[in-house]
Amino acid sequence: MSDEGKADGGYFGRSILRKEDPALLTGRGRFVDDLQPDRLLHACIVRSPHAHARITRVDTSAAAAVPGVKAVYAFADLPPMLQQKRLPLMSANPLIKQPLTQPVMANDEVRFAGESVAVVIAESRRVAEDAAALVDVTYEALPAVNDVRKGLEANAPTVHAGTASNLVARVPFVVGDTDVAFKGAARVVKASFDTHRGGGFSMETRGCLAVPDLNAGSYTLYLTSQSPHRIKRVLMDMLEFADHEIRVIAPDVGGGFGPKGSFYAEYALITACAMRLGQPLKWIEDRAENFVATQQERDMFWDLEVAIDAGARILGLRGRLIHENGAYVAPLGLILPWIAVTHVQGPYVIPNFSIEMLVAFTNKVPTSPVRGAGRPQAVFVMERLMDHIARATGLDPAEVRRRNFIQPSQMPYNCQLIARDGKPVIYDSGDYPEAQRRALAMARYADFRARQAAARTEGKHLGIGMASFVEGTGLGPYESATVRVATNGKIIVCTGAAPQGQSHKTTLAQICADLLQVSPGVIDVVTGDTGAIAIGVGTFAARSAVNAGSAVHMAGIEVRHKAILLAASMLKVSPEKLDIGAGYVYNVAQPDQRKSLREIAIYAAGSPGYALPGEVTPGLEHTAYFTPERSTYSNGCHVVEAEVDIWTGQVTLTGYWIVDDCGRAINPQVVYGQVLGGTVHGIGNALLERLLFDEHAQPLTTSFADYLLPLATDVPRIEIGHMESPSPLNPLGVKGAGEGGTLPAIAAVIGAIEDALSPFGVTINETPVSPMRIVDLIRAAAPETYA
């Protein structure tokens, strides 16, 4: 430990209060829309009302004549480079057969309702909206693809006119030999699953503000994003900026949940318009736009079968996934269905595995990861299969899972699959049977059947559901961190990780505080600014504790080491005699012989003519990049108790118990919040959230009156227990915690409903389920119920 900070008084592992909260709770947060530079102009984007149409004419003259309107631009008015370039593939993959990405604005064809057709720029948003209504676009409607499965049929209309098919990619995932496994099976269980998820719907919608610096000839784009460094790289490519000509800043971000991790056409468009006008320009997406223009997750359809032996052990799993891609290949490419397929296995031994992944276009806004990113659907199908096996064999559902769990002694466990980052899926650590045992104990599972029977005598239908999960977290390729002691004595941590509620400013300060032996309160954590640190990636895929946390750790060790070497030079004592604490480096034998970190920082900045000690670089700072060898794998188990009113179909969650293992927790209260929030997201996905489209792919849920998010009154009391299986893959032993709550929630909630309805023989292979759907399922399985 001598080189890695003192264990005593350590802040790592403590639930200190969040450094972010005082500003947010007193209304001093600083979000994109709070920024009001002088001469600010406002943009309103004209969006296609058609899911698929040919544009024959765009007349902007009436809009341009509205007083207060500065400019109206359609495709033909874009600079040539934005006419020629489409959005880039940030996660390119040679398996994408039709890499058709979105243009910055539609030219002659719109392919989803909500696609940008023109932009109106005015002195206020209100005037821009008034004028936007006057932009006259003539459309010729084209046949639209709503259902991805129908779009794959022969002679289906194509989403992109003139293409031969809607297929984006067809990728086989194969481990072992499923044909042999199925031939030797004692039993085969089959099911088809319809898994729908909604969008991210963060409280703050998307938005950006482009500010030209006319003196420097450079631009700053403020935007609400999960990864400003990646946005900058795309802007450099699309608008041909040199590195110093564009700076991207994500100030406070009001939620991300995945959709804010992508690059969107508006970011290039607004920057280009500000360049052309030479004035600051702001575009804030309103909620109506948010429902049609921000990427969503939507539909995955699965046909699966699982072969088991006489003891209910899985011999093989095979089938097909059809993923609905939306109208364009999104900048993140195939990662969403890819993650889904590689998470189906979960915590179970599946020696033979074969899933064909089909991805196809539809005339809808492109798809993006949403908290969990395909994993909740994968957990759903696997856990539903486990329950089906239990029903088919008469075994207890918990016992079926126990017979198939990967055992701790098998760690590290190689699933033989290739993850979306091209690296093998190898689980690093975890005790899946123990997580289940603890969750079942919390839920008093042993006496649930007696409680269920007693409730039934009163006409109440109680059920219990469970789901275990494994979640790939800590995705590479790397994250950056600079730890710096400034010459005014301030300690600053800069990182490319860009938080949207994950508490980076608290947790990264805790890591740094232990290394420099100071309070986290004196450490400023600077995030989301490409001007603060040159290289970075961003916050998504539950990656920042692992990557940014480890990078801060590495940089902090180096700064501590430098401080001691520099102080040794200043004090003219041997470095081994020195230690760090309370803002000083001091002589352990003679503590009054010391130098403050500020003095050392000034010394490290150097004076002309005076040499620094030979072995240290200038500046009391260090930048480190943590590059994980491969992903870390969190795990856990959810158990849910639900009561179903069979007459209305209403579901009430009557109990919820969680065991979550994300390795070592930097701040348990922060982990608790992440798990709780993630779980509520999953509850919404199971019971409420559905994006509806009509047969012409016209979105029908375009406000929160039609698209239902869970309210506080939909959230049961949730008890969370933690386990810690440290990851061997990073110096902190941490894993990701941001998405784990969501992964098993859908499966567990639906399982509980199905169990409650077991007297009626109802099977549920879909999510979400509405009360009406539950009544339909009961009526179909047991028609006499409502006689």
Binding site: R125, A288, T648, L692, L708, L711, T713, D714, S770, Y786
Partner: protein, 295 residues
């Protein structure tokens, strides 16, 4: 999400408000704003004038006179919820208002605003239908029209007010003697507009037989329905679970519509289920309005 331009008026008296309404044909009246403001922001409505009634104190108030509960149109839903006058005289109205939106929206939302907006599943409209409310419409120059709730709808989300008319008060005739009330609704989430809501009133004679029944089902059309067959099946009968079950079956025959979220047959199914529950609720909390005692 910014409203189209409009001219804003803030009259201080009912007379001024009525004059503004008469002078400006293309006007919307702003009560609590819980529906109007989102509709303006979505540009579903783009009136040239908005007449804000929030500074007209004479339009709010609750009182009972001659066995009629009088409520001013601008009375806040939150005031209905906490009023002891409403609690004693018209507990059905209070049971209904508790299900309207959320505490924050009830602090702004008004009785008149809800009745004028006329959402098909609005709780207060359903309660008013069960109570045979009369709506008082006034216009500039002293014109007053009394509109029975049954004649209040002129179509989906459209009330029966004529140009220049404004809803100023609502009258609820009160029932005498032993009576009970029920209000049961089904909404996806607490505070949402109901898919179906059912309001019931039952009055009993000295022998405990149902002497009078009102059943109003909201959410099945532009205006809540009063299925006469259900009410007829109850009158003259002694309350019992089998009676309510059979009467509720008749509720399943009412007309209903389908939309993107909910099919007509599920609405009819819910009408049956909730009618049975609302009748049981009414029978379980009988009180005598003559003495104000509850049992």
């Amino acid at each position: 999400m910014k409203p189209a331009p409009f001219k804003y008026h803030a009259p201080r008296t009912t007379g001024d408000a009525l004059r503004l309404l008469a002078d400006n044909g293309d006007a919307c009246v702003l009560a609590g704003g819980q529906s109007l403001m989102p509709m303006l922001n979505f540009r579903l409505l783009a009136p040239a004038h908005v007449i804000d009634l929030n500074r007209v104190p004479a339009l709010a108030g609750i009182r009972v006179e001659q066995n009629v509960l009088h409520v001013g149109a601008m009375t806040r839903q939150g005031d209905l919820e906490t009023s002891s006058v409403v609690r004693d005289a018209a507990p059905l109205l209070q049971a209904a208002v508790r299900q309207v939106g959320h505490r924050q929206t009830r602090n702004r939302g008004t009785l008149g605003g809800s009745l004028c907006h006329l959402d098909p599943a609005a709780e207060l409209v359903t309660a008013a239908m069960a109570m045979d409310a009369t709506l008082i419409a006034e216009s500039a120059g002293g014109g007053t029209r009394r509109i029975p709730i049954a004649a209040w709808s002129a179509g989906y989300l459209t009330n029966a007010l004529r140009p220049g008319e404004m809803l100023t008060a609502i009258e609820f005739p009160l029932w005498r003697g032993a009576q009970g009330h029920g209000f049961v609704e089904f909404a996806r989430r607490k505070g949402d507009f109901a898919i179906i809501g059912v309001a019931t009133l039952l009055a009993f004679d000295a022998a405990g037989t149902i002497a009078r029944a009102a059943v109003a089902i909201g959410g099945c059309g532009p205006l809540p329905q009063r299925p006469a067959a259900v009410e007829q099946a109850l009158i003259g009968q002694r309350p019992s679970a089998p009676l309510f079950k059979e009467a509720a079956r008749l509720a399943a025959t009412i007309e209903a519509h389908s939309d993107a979220h909910v099919r007509a047959d599920y609405r009819r199914h819910l009408a049956r289920v909730l009618t049975e529950r609302a009748l049981a609720e009414a029978a379980n909390r009988v009180h005598d309005a003559g003495h104000g005692a509850s049992q």
